[in-house]
């Protein structure tokens, strides 16, 4: 395994993250409850086997009280909120605050207005501009690595964007997840596959009334490669596991 290849977080950024974490701790129970209510009652989403999914996530968190990185398939712009809702109740997150994952939503969408910026701030989000300045992107990855090094949980989509084919694409692996993973010793990677019955391909948001089903699996990526090739290798191993979970999903659906 290569040495960490991610820039250190400045003391100023660390202070800002600590403030955000404390603000989030105070306000996220309300904010996340609102999100859960919107998903459940406005969008009328359902997660089949939600109790089992939450139990599986709870078990992984209990078995590993260290850095956790959730890696998931990516079909819509609100996946991170649906996944957080599917994995835990607002009450459970309140009692296990570190298991509520930090997210990196697209800044051009989720940080477009002051209201949205405020909302995602209290929902443990660090907006990122995909395809933007590489150093800014790297800065956000550094913050994520810093947070999970300190016992927090983060959610990253290893494909560099939503699955354009509608299926997990191992070849589309980015390097962000690998960089974060390499930078955090003893990091546990939790793969989450979640998909709605009507989700044939990627979209903005899932259709109203969508019924999701999902699974949770732990993977331990290892690579002999260094540098960017190593980061890519790690991302591809994670995506290979997500692709397996996808096959199981469709096998079960038939």
């Amino acid at each position: 395994m290569t040495a960490a290849a991610i820039s250190p977080v400045s003391s100023e950024a660390r202070r800002a993250l600590k403030i955000q974490r404390e603000v989030t701790r105070l306000l996220s129970p309300l904010a996340f409850t609102l999100v859960a209510l919107v998903l459940r009652y406005a969008y009328r989403y359902r997660v089949q086997g939600m109790a089992e999914l939450r139990a599986a996530y709870r078990q992984v968190c209990e078995e590993h009280d260290g850095p956790r990185l959730i890696c998931a398939n990516h079909l819509t712009m609100i996946d991170s909120f649906i996944i957080a809702w599917a994995l835990g109740s607002p009450w459970w997150y309140l009692r296990n605050f570190r298991t509520l994952p930090w997210n990196v939503p697209e800044a051009s969408i989720f940080a477009a207005t002051p209201l949205l910026r405020g909302l995602i701030y209290v929902l443990k989000c660090l907006p990122i501009r995909r395809g933007g300045d590489r150093r800014e992107v790297a800065g956000v990855l550094s913050k994520l690595a810093y947070l999970i090094s300190n016992g927090e949980t983060a959610l990253i989509f290893p494909e560099a964007g939503r699955s354009r084919s509608g299926r997990v694409d191992v070849a589309a692996a980015g390097t962000g997840v690998g960089r974060v993973y390499k930078a955090v010793p003893n990091c546990r990677v939790i793969c989450v596959y979640l998909r709605g019955e009507g989700q044939e391909t990627y979209s903005g948001v899932p259709r109203r009334g969508e019924r999701f089903r999902g699974s949770v699996s732990v993977v331990e990526p290892k690579t002999d490669h260094t540098g960017i090739r190593g980061s890519r290798d790690i991302a591809q191993q994670i995506l290979a596991r997500l692709a397996e979970m996808e096959r199981s999903y469709f096998d079960a659906r038939q």
């Binding site: 995909r130 590489r134 589309a172 960017i228 980061s231």
Partner: protein, 82 residues
């Protein structure tokens, strides 16, 4: 290998990923890989891995953050070749 050779090889590697052929036709060291050539940012890693193979070098994660223009890529490769 001199800068001109590296530049030509870099452009050749970039070509299949370029979405803006007009910019490619007038490519210079100042040409921005993402903004001008419209290379998909998600595919930048493939480009960099091809650099590694073509020039038999190893590129660190941090190195990629500084590659914005064709000239940046040429400079990085030149530094790796020593």
């Amino acid at each position: 290998m001199d800068k001109t050779e590296i530049f030509e090889k870099v452009v050749k590697i970039l070509t299949p990923y370029v979405k803006n052929p007009d910019a490619l036709a007038s490519v210079t060291r100042e040409t921005h890989i993402l903004d001008d050539l419209k290379v998909n940012s998600a595919r930048l890693v493939d480009v960099v891995l091809e650099f590694e193979d073509a020039f038999e070098i190893e590129i660190d994660d941090d190195d990629v953050d500084s590659v914005e223009t064709v000239g940046n890529a040429v400079g990085l490769i030149e530094s790796k070749l020593g």
